[in-house]
């Protein structure tokens, strides 16, 4: 971790409390209109080229999903509960549907579970490609990987169009199971795409991941040690980059993950480069999962008729989204509208890493650390 050489400079207090206003510090607001930041404003207290402390000012895309969820029926909630993380829509949809199915006591038939797993893993690859293009590519100025990753992401999107009918906002899993079965030519088109994508990953490795310029910028920057990651409650690739082997697909298997075998990539260093590699390895694992799921695809019905009433009670459901553990708490009161929906997603939980990591680093390191967290402000603001 690069600390500023002379310790006399003011260093930030432990957590998120902005440093005292010293005469030598300057407040720089990296606002919502900035090529290096997403939909949030980071009030950076800068001393020369060193960032002393960052106070993230979020809420620019706060649309009150939890308040609106109390005014829509259980099925009509799916489109707007999916919008916070539009590039990873299946997981937000699946996470919301699991507690409702638990309350209503429905079990999705095995073929529906397999189709949901395939759609979820395809969505994980698309979300990681979006991260690779925007958060790792454009934020660090590497526009070649932006062009490569978005080119390949469009191929996966064409297949998602064939399966669900929409590019990003699938609304594919109402309570009871997926809405559509696999179209005819979907299977061999997907297998051909996976072979092609595996060759492309070798090219990604050569142009980006083992590119000495990227390694120089990302290695050793924004290091989050193992106990710090646990203390701050990190999740997903940020947690697995710091050496904690925790993945909801293994801890509490849902869908068809119980009978598919795949590994969980874990790296010990905990710096931005380790988080880059975790997502890179996860894409390879997703390819393996999709291939197995396509082979073991059972026959039979894909969905079950679900009642429209959410019975009395409270249930918690969680899935492993591309940004980590996504937990939903749905409280029903015997009407067709849920009485309370609480969303705990990966981005809001990794928000605390921003002020914790972006301290005593160069200003140029901020986009790399911010990009390595894969923080999607729309999902965090809900």
């Amino acid at each position: 971790m690069t600390t500023n050489p002379d310790q006399t400079k003011p260093t930030a207090p432990p957590i998120a409390i902005t440093a005292a206003k010293e005469p030598s510090t300057l407040d720089v607001s990296v606002g919502p209109q900035h090529p290096g930041s997403g939909h949030l404003r980071m009030l950076m207290r800068v001393d020369g080229d060193y960032i002393v402390s960052v106070d993230p000012d979020i809420g620019y895309v706060h649309r009150g999903c939890e308040k609106i969820a109390e005014y829509r029926t259980a099925v009509s909630n799916i489109p707007h509960l999916e919008r916070p993380c539009i590039i990873d829509a299946i997981h937000l949809n699946w996470g919301y549907v699991l507690p409702i199915e638990e309350l209503q006591g429905i079990v999705v038939p095995p073929r529906g579970q397999y189709i949901s797993t395939i759609a979820a893993e395809m969505n994980r690859i698309m979300s990681h490609l979006y991260w690779l293009a925007i958060n790792a590519g454009v934020f660090s100025g590497h526009t070649t990987i932006f062009m490569y990753a978005f080119g390949d992401r469009d191929l996966f999107i064409e297949l998602a169009e064939m399966l669900t009918g929409a590019r990003l906002t699938y609304s594919f899993l109402p309570p009871g199971g997926p809405r559509r079965d696999l179209p005819a030519e979907f299977q061999d088109r997907l297998l051909k795409l996976l072979d092609y994508f595996e060759r492309r990953l070798v090219e990604y490795d050569r142009i980006f991941f083992s590119n000495p310029l990227v390694i120089a910028r990302a290695k050793g920057i924004g290091t989050l040690k193992r106990d710090e990651a646990i203390k701050l409650g990190m999740t997903g690739p940020v947690l697995r980059g710091s050496g904690v082997k925790y993945d909801v697909r293994k801890v509490e298997p849902y869908g068809a993950y119980a009978d598919l075998d795949f590994e969980i990539p874990v790296f010990e260093e905990g710096d931005s480069y380790a988080r880059f590699l975790v997502r890179f390895e996860e894409m390879k694992q997703s390819i393996k999962i999709i291939r197995q799921a396509l082979e073991k695809m059972p026959k039979g019905p894909i969905a079950r008729k679900a009642p429209l009433i959410i019975p009395e009670g409270e249930a918690i459901g969680r899935v492993e989204s591309s940004r980590g553990e996504l937990t939903y708490m749905v409280k029903g009161d015997n009407s067709d509208k849920p009485s309370r929906v609480k969303i705990m997603n990966g981005s809001f939980r990794s928000l605390i890493a921003l002020p914790y990591l972006i301290r005593n680093v160069h200003v140029a390191d901020m986009p790399i650390i911010y990009g390595s967290l894969d923080y999607w402000p729309v999902e965090a603001d809900r």
Binding site: P32, H34, H39, H62
Partner: protein, 172 residues
């Protein structure tokens, strides 16, 4: 000449010159040239208001390559940009900043309202922190529905906007 006569002497001529310039540029080839150059240099502001920015990024990718229309993703100054794409929901907190960004842009500026939330508040029309109608903030040129609209649909909106620029008055 005394001060007053200089004033109205200049006033007459200046008034005249602007009429002459307006007459020249208002007609025929000059107007076509100016509109053609504005049409082919639409630089969008890099402000992502909400989740439609994922599809805006997909449009900026290699598959559709909007630089064929001069749509270059300018990372930076507002002075050079002349197209603002309202990508999705405008919350009340973002509306303040969006208004500031709109006023900083140079004069021939155009607005594309991308997605349902920019057109009419879409999925979140009954939320407490949303500005439902963006056209109250600034005049909107083209509305493109869709949640999010396909990159091709956004490009069709850009093509429609260029059609509008081609036919408009130079000093509108």
């Amino acid at each position: 000449m005394s001060q007053e006569t200089l004033q109205d002497f200049a006033g007459v001529w200046i008034g005249k010159i602007s009429e002459v310039v307006r007459a020249i540029t208002g007609s025929g080839p000059i107007k076509f040239m100016i509109n053609w150059s504005r049409m082919y240099a639409l630089w969008p502001v890099h402000i992502t208001t909400a989740c439609c920015s994922a599809e805006f990024g997909a449009m900026m990718g290699p598959r559709l390559d909007p630089e064929r229309f001069g749509l270059q993703a300018v990372a930076g100054g507002l002075r050079q940009c002349d197209l603002i794409i309202v990508e999705g929901t405008v919350t009340k907190k973002m509306a303040k900043r969006l208004k500031i960004v709109y006023e900083q842009m140079a004069k021939p500026r155009y607005v594309v309202a991308m997605g349902d939330c920019a057109c009419s508040g879409g999925l979140f029309h009954d939320s407490y922190s949303i500005v439902n109608d963006v056209h109250k903030l600034f005049p909107v040129d083209v509305y493109i529905p869709g949640c999010p609209p396909r990159p091709e649909a956004l490009l069709s909106a850009i093509v429609k906007l260029r059609e509008k620029i081609r036919r408009e008055e130079v000093f509108a």
